[in-house]
């Protein structure tokens, strides 16, 4: 077992004013490659597909955060083409608001594991994700207010990219290189005040056991 090797990352926060947006991202060479992409934008339109190097990416989830007026999505591709290729996201109609895009490459990865999503909840928003040995966790959050931390695990601040989609977005936070031991990992997202969402996805190490089915939406009952 070994933790996936983190590779190149790319981020963009521009207004497509078109029914697609695309930019170049460089996938590292190596075996057991993986590319993932996190998206957040106004829910005035929807994601229809994503491609990398012309190859259709798999959609892990898309979710409409109606309270925030935002639609968030996660796409990935196993064994993507290497080098500089175009990452393209297509929309159901023109998007006139800025889109938050974060792409990250890996090598020596066993693919995507568990993934859970939690809608807006009062800061600090605490959640967890059960992972296999030697996994990494990626997080993303959205809030009306400025986002102040992404903690993986709780108590350990990870760097992230802050985007403005007419809401505040934290994207690209990921576990430290050592990864996690198998079990439930506590996570925390904070904003200056108000509600903040917390979506988390497991990046499997090499030789990891496939996920045990912890996938889906989590609804907070008030």
């Amino acid at each position: 077992m070994s933790v996936a090797t983190k590779g190149n990352q790319s981020t963009s926060n521009q207004t497509p004013a078109n029914n697609f947006y695309q930019f170049a991202h460089n996938q590292n060479t190596g075996s057991n490659r993986l590319i993932v992409a996190q998206f957040t934008m106004s829910n005035s339109t929807s994601y229809t597909s994503a491609t990398y190097g012309g190859v259709t990416m798999t959609r892990l989830y898309t979710i409409n955060r109606s309270g925030l007026g935002q639609r968030m999505a996660f796409y990935y591709l196993v064994d993507p083409p290497t080098g500089s290729n175009t990452l393209r996201i297509n929309f159901s109609s023109s998007q006139w608001n800025p889109v938050s895009i974060y792409a990250r490459s890996f090598t020596n990865s066993g693919g995507i594991g568990n993934s859970l999503r939690s809608g807006g909840s009062a800061t600090p928003h605490n959640a967890s994700l059960t992972v296999s040995d030697d996994s990494l966790i990626m997080m993303t959050s959205c809030s009306v207010n400025a986002i102040t931390s992404q903690q993986i695990p709780t108590g350990t601040n990870q760097s992230y990219t802050q985007h403005n989609t007419n809401r505040q977005v934290a994207t690209g936070s990921i576990s430290s290189n050592a990864g996690h031991s198998a079990g439930s990992i506590s996570l925390r997202a904070t904003s200056t005040f108000g509600d903040i969402s917390l979506d988390r996805t497991e990046i499997l190490g090499l030789g990891a056991t496939p996920p045990s089915g912890e996938n889906g939406n989590f609804f907070l009952v008030m």
Partner: protein, 93 residues
Amino acid sequence: MITIISKIELEGTDSLKYTDIGHTEDVDVINQINEDYDASLGSFLGKNKTKLEIGLVLLSAFFNNYEYVHEARTQVTTVEGLDFPKITNVNQI
């Protein structure tokens, strides 16, 4: 992270076309490009978003006064494989 500089032009009558034209790590260059964008196309999009969505305003109205604008809000860890120059002065674009 390295920042990519995009050239933004009108495509057709109501869409944008982005072309990457350079890269920089100079914060002053990035800030100047984005301040100019925010004061021009960014302001137009913000003021007219609803009308643009329903077709009451077209992007071509903005490009009657501008041939193109630039923006620097894409960041990458490597420019390997990308064939455009490093920008150290905003006058280079």
